[in-house]
């Protein structure tokens, strides 16, 4: 039943989370969402995602802290940093993310990135 890969969208903006849910619906993935790092931690505890789309600046717990916690808890799923920062590559490097995408993005851009990361993971696990 839950054979479809899970993508966890972590962003404090409700509308953006919803948009990503809509956009990724065509990609054959299941989309879960969390409004901050803390919510993400409990979501991850419930079911480990195959990919995290991570905003960095968030209230309660930001992206940096979430990554620290995940590393401390022994490993993390692939992370795609999704940021409006001036230098997204630098943000991604700070948390040793698997990739980054600047906000705003083109729909096709984010779809194809999600597609390729999920496909890589699927081929590795099969």
């Amino acid at each position: 039943m839950s054979a479809r890969p899970l993508v966890l969208v972590v962003d404090d903006d409700d509308d953006l989370r919803e948009l990503l849910g809509v956009l990724l619906a065509t990609e054959g993935v299941e989309v879960a969402s969390a409004a901050n790092g803390l919510e993400a931690l409990s979501a991850i505890a419930a079911r480990r995602p195959d990919l995290i789309l991570l905003d960095m600046k968030m209230p309660v717990m930001d992206g940096w802290e979430l990554c620290r916690r995940l590393d401390a808890d022994g490993g993390r799923p692939p992370i795609l940093v999704m940021t409006a920062a001036f230098d997204p590559a630098a943000r991604a490097a700070e948390v040793r993310a698997d990739g980054w995408i600047g906000k705003p993005f083109e729909n096709e851009e984010i779809r194809s990135m999600v597609r390729s990361i999920v496909a890589r993971r699927a081929s590795r696990s099969s």
Binding site: L16, L19, L20, L23, A84, K103, F105, E106, N107, E108
Partner: protein, 534 residues
């Protein structure tokens, strides 16, 4: 005989005392000299007169009346009334007039001056200063006529020289005081250090700074109290302190340093200029000027935070607008809606570019374009940028021809940013169906990246302004796609700061090619590093 053997000794003593006096106050010096002159030359009146130009008058600066033990000043003698005397001042070493009332040089003083005052003999010595006649030292005898001896003339000459020395000392002192006032009133801390790093002079701001830092008189003690960091936060060893560098002959220009000390609660930031002080070939010390820019740095930090927050807050809504417009357009919507959705998408794209430009301008203004260079392969970097671009503009034809490896020593995000700008521009100003060609060629000294489009080109009359900040070549034309006109300025700035260049060739209606040249990193030294970095 006015003096004897005892008088000679007395004379020596008086002259020696005069020579030893502090000469900074000219009025005091003149009082002492005139008193001494009246005593050693045994005259009733001794005075110093200053030549006032341009009216050609002698103004009495100091007159000592020995009999009355009284000083006076202020009388004036005009050249037009005493032409022979004025002429003699310029021509003689001394005017030694035994009979002043008949001497051709002084007799013009007779009825109006000498007779009423009872003066019979005059011994006047011109005072020269700085190559010009300053005035005259007058020794006037009252009573039976005198015959001036040559030793008396010598003494009068010595006294005149003393006046000259006193003037010089007073002028030097006044200049020093003026300069000290200037330096003291400067808000920046000014230090003069000797070759051992001991503070020899410090103005009020500098003294206050030292006091704040815990108070110390030498660099060696200061080292124990304070810690300097550079802009990158690195603690500077004492050999890298501006003073130490200046003592090695280097001039430090406006570098930012951060100071920490146990007695200063907050970190202070300074813009420092420091130069060696030379004595011939030898470096004998250093002068340092420390401008407190802590407030400025704090504001800059706030501005940076504000900017980041603003960009973040603006970009998220744009992302949502753009995302839904693109999504809806891809659905089975009413045909009439499609152009509207495309318009929303385009408008969001314009806003995105404006925000990017705004951020870039602010980054430039904040002087944050500091490079963090590492060995990278430009070809790999170009491929990454192209790949990313291809994802955001599917269907756009991009041809890449890149020689590998293309080693450069560069700041990865900055070079990426420059390339992105060039590719964006090529796409923006050329038809969707035309290809964009990107090439990377490795030369002996440089690596050259070219971005070629078959677009509208740049009108010849606008080409020379293309790299100006806020210049938009297509403003007011149907090709105007918005923005603030900072992209190319920034891209060139990035190239130049890497020691490279950015230029273009363009023909209106045929297209443009932009060239980004970066110095090639030493292939041997960087081969391994560039491999691991790519």
């Amino acid at each position: 005989m006015h003096t004897g053997a005892g008088g000679d000794r007395e004379r020596e003593r008086v002259l020696l005392e005069l020579a030893k006096r502090d000469k900074r106050d000219l009025a005091q010096s003149l009082r002492a000299i005139t008193e001494a002159a009246s005593v050693v030359l045994a005259v009733a009146r001794a005075s110093v007169w200053r030549l006032a130009r341009p009216d050609g008058a002698l103004v009495c600066e100091e007159l000592y009346l020995r009999g009355e033990r009284r000083h006076e000043r202020g009388s004036t003698l005009f050249q037009r009334d005493y032409p022979a005397y004025f002429a003699a001042l310029l021509e003689s070493r001394a005017i030694s007039a035994d009979d002043a009332r008949t001497d051709p040089r002084t007799r013009e003083f007779g009825p109006g001056y000498l007779e009423p005052l009872g003066i019979t003999s005059m011994l006047d010595v011109p005072i020269w200063h700085d190559g010009a006649l300053y005035g005259v030292l007058c020794c006037e005898h009252v009573g039976p006529q005198r015959r001036w001896r040559s030793d008396e003339e010598t003494i009068a000459g010595n006294l005149s020289d003393l006046v000259s020395l006193s003037i010089e000392a007073a002028e030097r002192h006044a200049a020093e005081m003026r300069w000290r006032t200037v330096v003291e009133s400067i808000g920046d801390a000014v230090f003069v250090l000797d070759a051992n790093g001991g503070i020899t002079q410090a103005n009020a701001a500098a003294r206050a700074l030292v006091a704040r830092g815990g108070g110390s008189a030498s660099l060696r003690e200061w080292v124990k109290l304070a810690e300097y960091r550079d802009r990158a936060g690195r603690v500077l060893p004492i050999s890298d302190w501006p003073t130490a560098r200046a003592l090695r002959g280097e001039t430090v220009h406006g570098e930012i340093l951060h100071l920490r000390s146990a007695t200063i609660p907050d970190e202070l930031s300074f813009r420092v200029t420091c130069s060696p002080v030379r004595d011939g070939d030898r470096i004998v010390g250093s002068v340092g000027v420390y401008t407190d820019v802590s407030e400025e740095m704090h504001l800059e930090e706030l501005q940076r935070e504000l900017l980041a927050a603003l960009a973040h807050e603006l970009k998220t809504p744009v992302a949502i607008t753009k995302g839904y417009a693109q999504h809806l357009e891809s659905l089975d919507v009413q045909p009439a809606w499609r152009p509207m959705l495309r318009a929303i998408d385009r408008a969001a794209g314009r806003m995105e570019r404006l925000i990017d430009d705004l951020v870039d301008v602010s980054v430039l203004r904040l002087g944050r374009l500091a490079l963090h260079r590492e060995p990278i392969d430009l070809s790999a970097l170009v491929s990454g940028v192209v790949e990313r671009f291809a994802r955001s503009a599917p269907g756009r034809q991009l041809r890449v021809e890149a020689q590998q490896p293309a080693p450069v020593f560069a700041d990865r995000p900055r070079v990426e940013q420059a390339l992105r700008r060039l590719i964006d521009n090529a796409a923006r100003y050329s038809p969707d169906e035309s290809a964009i060609e990107i090439s990377v060629t490795v030369g002996e000294h440089d690596v050259l990246c070219a971005v070629r489009d078959a677009g509208i080109g740049i009108p010849a009359d606008r080409q020379r302004h293309l790299f100006e900040l806020f210049y938009r070549a297509h403003a007011g034309t149907p090709h105007d796609v918005g923005g603030l006109g900072v992209g190319l300025f920034l891209a060139r700035e990035i190239a130049v700061r890497h020691g490279g260049a950015l230029w273009f060739e363009s023909t209106e209606g045929e297209g443009s090619t932009f060239f980004l040249r970066l110095p090639r990193a030493d292939a041997d030294a960087d081969a391994g590093a560039s491999e691991s970095a790519s």
